[in-house]
Symmetry: C2
Subunit: 381 residues, 2 copies
């Protein structure tokens, strides 16, 4: 396989900070990837996303294959050109949204057949088709294998079957992906909350060999505590020299706990989704701008930020925009939240480099507890 160098620059306990190099740019890890669902990080221009310091965004194969279709994106020059994002893009395999959004008609060893949530039309997604869509048509920089997900809790035999099918699909993805100079392929560990299944999954994936390894099948209903318990062993089962990516996670405190345990990459719709619903993430946890206590609060969300949405607009103004249901409120809060998640990652990269991640994590936990939820992040250092 091509190089795709991953350089670990510093470690702090199990945590690492480094750089994953792609032909479209370097990804500083630990990294948070804003989700650009259907060719757009919702409500934001690519320039606004770039201003937050994001090195990479995620695109959803499921959404793009249905609309505007992967073939159309290909005819328009690929996903980067289509949406005008010139830095790296990771695409998921489509499997998660097929499970969560569509009506599944049939899952076989060969492929998943499903009905579009948009118009009910029938589509087939196989490991080979997922590779074609991601690597050939969308032109993704980091391609994810197709996997089979199981909603938790589930019987162990069901979890084990899905894990082993995912490994077989990983093998087929690897074969279909072939040799590429500028694109990476990541495998996805499954196995639910069972340590031995996670270990078996990790071993199967390493035998196949990938540029990076995702931890899949979490954040699917098992809760923060159960997820953290899995993270106590799952990252360490994956090869230390390659990037580890925790899919679909999460709240700041989830990310802090995962980084502490050796995870390098994250994605989540949380910052944009909560931004569209009037919520802003801060170092003290999430706040709802609709709350009347912000009606005459002249402080910005983060006076130390370089991002206009965080630095320049008062909470009073944001309160007004949210109350009046103005699009600009959704734009500014989505923008701020993405910037906050990027600032969180930057703080953690610095904390790891300076050997103070433990203190950062303790502060995060204390603040999350004080916020009355598991939602707060640490203090910028």
């Amino acid at each position: 396989m091509a190089a795709f160098p991953f350089t670990i620059q510093a470690t702090d306990g199990a945590a690492r900070t480094g750089v994953l190099s792609t032909t479209r740019g370097e990804i500083r890890t630990p990294a948070f990837m804003p989700v650009g669902t259907a060719g757009t990080v919702k409500a934001l221009t690519v320039d606004q996303v770039a201003a937050t310091g994001a090195d990479i965004i995620l695109g959803n194969t499921y959404h793009l294959m249905l609309r505007p279709t992967a073939e159309r994106v290909a005819r328009l020059g690929g996903l980067h050109r289509f949406m005008r994002w010139n830095k790296p893009i990771l695409t998921d395999s489509g499997g998660f949204q097929v499970m969560s959004l569509s009506k599944i008609a049939k899952v076989t060893e060969e492929a998943v057949t499903f009905a579009s949530h948009i118009d009910g039309s029938r589509h087939v997604l196989s490991p080979e088709r997922s590779m074609e869509i991601q690597a050939d048509l969308l032109g993704s920089d980091i391609v994810m294998q197709l996997d089979e997900l199981v909603a938790l809790p589930a019987e162990e035999s069901v979890v084990a079957d899905a894990m082993r099918r995912s490994a077989r699909w990983g093998q087929r993805c690897k074969a279909a992906f072939g040799q590429r100079d500028t694109q990476a392929l990541f495998g996805i560990q499954q196995g639910g909350t069972a340590e031995h299944l996670r270990r078996e999954s990790a071993q199967r994936l390493q035998e196949i060999g990938f540029h990076g390894y995702a931890i899949g099948g979490l954040a699917v209903g098992e809760g923060h505590e159960a997820m953290v318990e899995v993270l106590d062993f799952a990252p360490a089962q994956l090869p230390p020299e390659r990037p580890r990516y925790l899919m679909g996670v999460g709240k700041p405190i989830d990310i802090v706990e995962a980084v502490w345990r050796g995870v390098d990459m994250f994605d989540c719709v949380l910052p944009t989704r909560s931004g569209r619903h009037g919520q802003a993430w801060t170092w003290d946890g999430p706040i709802n701008l609709k709350n009347a206590r912000f009606a005459e609060d002249e402080s910005p969300l983060d006076p130390d930020s370089d991002v206009p949405a965080s630095r320049d607009y008062s909470r009073a103004y944001l309160h007004h925009l949210v109350k009046a249901d103005e699009i600009l409120g959704q734009v500014l809060l989505s923008w701020h939240n993405i910037a906050f998640f990027q600032a969180l990652m930057a703080e953690m990269r610095a904390a790891i480099a300076e050997g103070r991640l433990s203190a950062f994590r303790q502060a995060s936990r204390a603040r999350a507890a004080a916020a009355g939820s598991d939602s707060a992040a640490g203090t910028p250092g």
Copy 2:
């Protein structure tokens, strides 16, 4: 009254180009003012609005007095600070929205009593209260007198009564406004489509004396032809040395015809409203990005623009965003449309300065006819 210099730099027939100077910046005329309804030009950041070249925006007294309330805006430092727009702001008087949005309880010589369209609460708007809201609380740079509007067609006696009441209210506004160094007060000509009523209105307003004169009561259902007929005489009835402002207008061809007849300022929700509905304005008229013919059209809306929304994104991408109902589609099309209207004004300013507005107007009319509507603008020269 304070100076508020209006310098006419060139004329071409009845048309003029010049600069209206305010303490917050110069307004190049003919000028188009994007409408910042409730403290936001809908869907856009102030930086995006500024990037279009807009010298001034409009704020709606009616919307702001109801939410967040004028008193709250005042406590937060005024409208400029609240919404972070540091260039000039013109506020309307509230009268138009009271008529079009609220349930009017009572109109007397003293004031209008109405019910909020948001929560049904009762409010009173008098000439004095309108001045207090606009000049003292919002801190507007250009304050509009309160006037009484009549939907056309209407009986002449009704139009005449409203025109004369508007003049009396203008006198009360002038008295309440008093002497101010940094704020201007504009009167509003009424009189429907009747030349003699428009003349009487203009005379009454000049006797009072204003920094500028608006042409009100048009674009209220009379149609393009009837409006243009009024513009054949109305602007010339107003003092040539002061700016003339045609309120609530309009489509590009309406603006071209009005500039040709000596109008200097315009405002309209059209660019932002049509942007939110998938429509883009171009030199060839409006296009609907939802149309399948744009699905694989790689051309941007205006490759010669300096504005990212116009220059950088393909019509194919915009088509996708509109079809997928993505907020970014509304943002980019609103941004492009504001930029297009600013480009239209810049072209007209140049055409007047170079004595070729007649040719520009003819081209506009030909293109509007070719577009099968009265919608097209001229060709950039």
